[in-house]
Symmetry: C3
Subunit: 161 residues, 3 copies
């Protein structure tokens, strides 16, 4: 499953890589469609979620869903459409059916009747787990480019592999 | 070929997913290279194309090519380079060798000697058909973020699976 | 490994395509992490690198690394974070374990404490070589959208397949 690249990067198999990219696409479409609860179901029961620019860590699907629901409803009230793009995904095996990913994520935002803009550029680190052929997020840490770090990545490390 | 994800999303095989992503890359490069006629050849003979923000539906390769040719020539006259990016592609089986995709598309635009800008953010829905190992677009519906819907997706539904 | 598409595009196998996308993700993360020397190790020993908007061609890993190191250090001094995104990658076989790619690349830039912006939109053409399962860049030519061409693609053509 792994091999050593010049930079000592380990990679997953080509098939697993395609599967992870496909998972992220569906995952992010749920979020941008405002389906926060279904999106949160794609975390493990005890999944964790944190961001460098915000205080605190969300623990478990209910807390993750509730936090995102609040943000989504606020956007809807303001008439804003946001699209998250994940890209440049690296994936490293971290145990049987466990993968550690690192990727970029940007957010494009369009107001009703207005022009789109680049709202945010970030990097993110996930620990993913495959269960019965489906991927789930054990932990996610998002680091906003240009922002001060209020919550460090060690806040989610316990959930890692 | 399919499996049930937590959100009840169906997915294509990992290999088919990679094939579809590769297809879209070549497809979009044809468009941005101004090769509207070759791009339209990647629709089925009776393919349909519509956008929420514009009236009417294009039926068949000739009409699809002609509409795009007009837009491309107008951009060239204004000295603008546009790059379409497709991303966050979900793909769901919809019959033998038929796949329904949903994805995001953004357009970056650069004037001659000037700065690039984000021109447009959209979502899109295609029905794709595989014929002799090649993918073709049966129908495409593009929904501009933030825009009023003049033409609804039902306008292309007849071409779906 | 190849097949003829309507537009006469040749493509690599679905597995090779996934492998190339995975390679590019790690490759670009090295660059944006400021690891110019490791990034340059992913070129062949005699790799070449050129851009339309800049004079000259870099030959070999040391020159490629040195040029990038200078740019990275200048950005760090200005407190800027840049993220390169590669996308819309087409890949065409060009010999045993040699692939010619063409893709889009954009750069998003965020100042410390500030808002992100789209800094650059480009197209790029690589010749890649697979050695012991790892991909290496034989040549890369980047063409900035909207820019005058100072250095043409023929400057790197000798390194092609």
């Amino acid at each position: 499953m792994t091999r050593t690249a010049p930079s000592d990067t380990k990679t997953v198999s080509d098939l697993d890589y395609a599967a992870i990219i496909q998972f992220y696409a569906g995952h992010i479409q749920l979020l941008d469609a405002g389906r926060a609860e279904e999106w949160a179901e794609q975390f493990t029961e005890d999944g964790v979620f944190a961001q460098n620019a915000k205080p605190g860590v969300k623990h478990g699907r209910a807390a993750i869903a509730a936090g995102m629901r609040k943000g989504i409803d606020a956007l809807a009230e303001r008439g804003l459409t946001r699209r998250h793009w994940f890209g440049m995904v690296t994936a490293e095996p971290a145990g049987p059916d466990v993968v550690r990913t690192r990727y970029y994520a940007v957010v494009f935002e369009t107001p009703k009747g207005g022009e789109p803009r680049l709202y945010l550029s970030t990097t993110a680190e996930d620990v993913l787990e495959r269960r019965d052929g489906n991927w789930l997020v054990r932990s996610r840490y998002i680091s906003h480019d240009g922002a001060e770090t209020i919550t460090g990545i060690e806040a989610v490390a316990g959930a890692g592999a």
